[in-house]
């Protein structure tokens, strides 16, 4: 059943005065948006007056409608076009900037939901070798984007440490030779971290991110060690240790560690406790991410998964808690998903989040490289391949060049399928200017890269989150907090741009 809203019965419509827009009944008020990325929240009464052409040009509301591109005869095309380009800057990007390298599939943890399709630590056949690593870096530098971000993933990348080091140093040499901007990031579980490795990562300006699902009882249930045991204490130890070292050295302030949480069924009762732990550890942000039924998670969905509506409830409840902490002054912790959406909605900017773009970031914004040199449209596409379906494989670093990857039929299919103007429901949705669909997710859950939006869990959860965010924007108490977050986020980026000469860029 469609989740779109229709006009109330009996509302007169004067289409002659209306520019193209989408709308949504938010319960007592209406949200209007357009392809320029502009939005307006208005009472249902005003909405009905607008629809019937009864808003007088002398009213303040008319001026608002006019400047935001909702009045057909009063469109300021140069300004609106500039807004469109700013919001959709990725449509002009010369190829992907994010390159995820899986240096091994081996892992020493057995996470309940593992997205990454890992294997036992004995499976050394799934380690990337040096020759493949070199070819992978060569391929990455053959793509045209002047900015390159290499992200080490796994498995557990620290299990193939020599290759992490080789890629880091070789990529840095190539970036210097070609005058390319290079950012490097390591996503690891921290259980194999040592002071020596940390020294190396600091010295080579590799930013660090880990997974922290919450308090020990939750994290260790979600992410146990292979063969049993507890992992959370090690994560907490290293988060504290890295922060200690960053605090002690001005040059390291840009390398504060990040942590990501994944929401399983077990997380649902732990919202405040998860946030409290992040606050206690001094983490600046928390990212309330839903679990995707992809890879290993698909096999155990009955045990760890949940309905999209349940996630939205969890999200709203936990976001409320975070906002309360901010209002009371107990913490300034920010929620990442909210920040991403606010950047799009309020600032009209693209925050570089691959999943919520039209077209999606697959190939256009990111590529994933398997341990054996195979190239995939995204890391999720690699996971589908791991289950025996090579649909999302678009090349191999030994044989392919960039042109063959961007011209690959799968690339074109993903781009076309994730363009929202081609999607039933999406093209009429009020959240279209800020949303996106993910072809791999829909292939995995609905057997088609296009998906079926009325029954899509992706659509339910994202529409739900957008509803929450727009409701918060209309609530003055929450709006104050959200505006503050945007301001702080802007300062962070400006600080990053002002990294002293000689210091490489860092991933924030």
């Amino acid at each position: 059943m469609s989740r779109l809203t229709t006009l109330a019965k009996g509302v007169a419509v004067d289409t002659g005065a209306l520019a193209a827009f989408n709308f949504r009944d938010m319960g007592g008020w209406h949200l209007l948006t357009n392809d320029w990325g502009q939005f307006l929240m208005m009472s249902t009464e005003d909405f009905n007056r607008f629809m019937s052409g009864k808003v007088e040009s002398s009213e303040p509301l008319y001026r608002e409608l006019e400047t935001r591109g909702f009045i057909k005869a009063r469109l300021d095309f140069p300004q609106l076009a500039a807004n469109y380009v700013k919001k959709n800057s990725f449509q002009w990007f010369p190829g992907p900037s994010l390159h995820m390298i899986v240096v091994t599939l081996r892992c020493n943890q057995k996470c309940q939901y593992c997205h990454s399709s890992v294997v036992d630590p004995s499976r050394t056949d799934t380690d990337m070798d040096i020759a493949t690593a070199k070819k992978t870096v060569d391929f990455i530098f053959s793509t045209p984007n002047p900015t390159i971000c290499i992200e080490f993933q796994g498995g557990e990348p620290l299990l193939n440490w020599p290759v992490v080091k080789f890629i880091t140093e070789y990529a840095q040499a190539k970036a210097k030779a070609g005058n390319r901007k290079l950012l490097m990031a390591l996503v690891c579980n921290f259980t194999l971290m040592t002071e020596d490795k940390l020294d190396y990562l600091f010295d080579h300006h590799v930013s660090i991110c880990t997974s922290l699902d919450g308090p020990a009882e939750l994290h260790n249930k979600n992410r146990p060690f292979l063969g049993g045991g507890e992992a959370q204490q090690k994560v907490v130890h290293w988060l504290e240790r890295i922060q200690e070292r960053c605090a002690a050295d001005e040059k390291k302030k840009y390398y504060l560690p990040g942590a990501l949480m994944t929401t399983t069924r077990f997380s649902m009762d732990y919202g405040p406790e998860i946030v409290d732990l992040y606050v206690k550890l001094g983490l600046e942000q928390i990212f309330l991410r839903p679990l995707s039924p992809i890879g290993y998670a698909k096999r155990v969905w009955k045990d760890v998964g949940y309905e999209a509506e349940e996630f939205v409830k969890f999200y709203e409840k936990t976001l409320d808690y975070i906002i309360d902490l901010n209002v009371s002054g107990k913490s300034g912790i920010m929620e990442r998903m909210a920040l991403i959406l606010l950047s799009k909605i309020v600032k009209g900017e693209d925050p570089g989040f691959m999943d919520l773009r039209s077209p999606a970031g697959a190939v256009l914004g990111c590529l994933a490289y398997n341990y054996n040199g195979e190239i995939f449209v995204s890391d999720e596409g690699r996971m589908v391949d791991h289950q025996g379906d090579p649909l999302f494989r678009v090349g191999d670093v030994s044989r392919s060049d960039w042109a063959s990857v961007i011209d690959h039929p799968t690339t074109r299919a993903c781009v076309s399928a994730s363009t929202l103007d081609n999607q039933p429901m999406c093209h009429q949705c009020a959240f279209k200017p800020y949303c996106g669909v993910e072809p791999v997710f829909h292939y995995e859950t609905q057997k088609s890269v296009f998906g079926q939006m009325p029954t899509s869990g992706w659509c339910v959860s994202h529409m739900g989150i957008f509803d929450v965010i727009f409701r918060k924007l209309r609530d003055p108490r929450a709006r104050k907090v959200l505006d503050k977050w945007l301001e702080r986020d802007q300062c962070r980026w400006q600080e990053s741009d002002a990294v002293p000469a000689g210091m490489p860029e860092v991933v924030l």
Partner: protein, 147 residues
């Protein structure tokens, strides 16, 4: 199922059959004005409720595909513009940029050779012995995984 040709296209029927191919076999016949579709569940023990659900799923997918064609035609100009613009920009031009001159210098080549040599030596010194490829570690997923 009798599907009017005035409403449904052969493409929509075929794509829907493909999308549901893991659950049903789809047999197709046609008259001048309609498609006659027969669905056969792949699960031999499917009861009346499951058969009705499969028929509903097929109907939903059929509507989804047919409506997708309509939306695609309606918005073809703007979507073609976006897709073309994005792919062209991402391609970065007709011919790939040449490798930077600095990479052809003897110093750079030596640097790379040293990096590789040191890395190979570290792998040999610190890593467990590499075993031959063992094949895909996970069996194919079952259809009723609950997603």
């Amino acid at each position: 199922m009798i599907l009017s040709k005035k409403i449904y296209s052969m493409d929509a029927v075929r794509i829907s059959a493909q999308v549901l191919s893991s659950k049903v076999n789809v047999y197709l016949d046609e008259t001048k004005t309609a498609f006659e579709v027969t669905l056969e569940a792949k699960r031999k023990d499917a009861g009346p409720e499951q058969l009705a659900a499969l028929e509903g799923e097929f109907g939903n997918e059929l509507l989804n595909q047919e409506y997708r064609f309509i939306v695609g035609r309606f918005n073809s100009k703007i979507s073609a513009l976006i897709v073309t613009q994005t792919l062209m920009a991402a391609r970065g031009g007709e011919t790939p940029a040449a490798a930077p001159a600095a990479e052809s210098t003897p110093e750079f080549k030596k640097l790379v050779a040293d990096l590789m040599k040191n890395a190979e030596a570290e792998v040999a010194r610190t890593m467990p012995r590499k075993i031959p490829h063992q094949g895909t570690p996970l069996p194919p997923i079952k259809e009723d995984a609950g997603v």
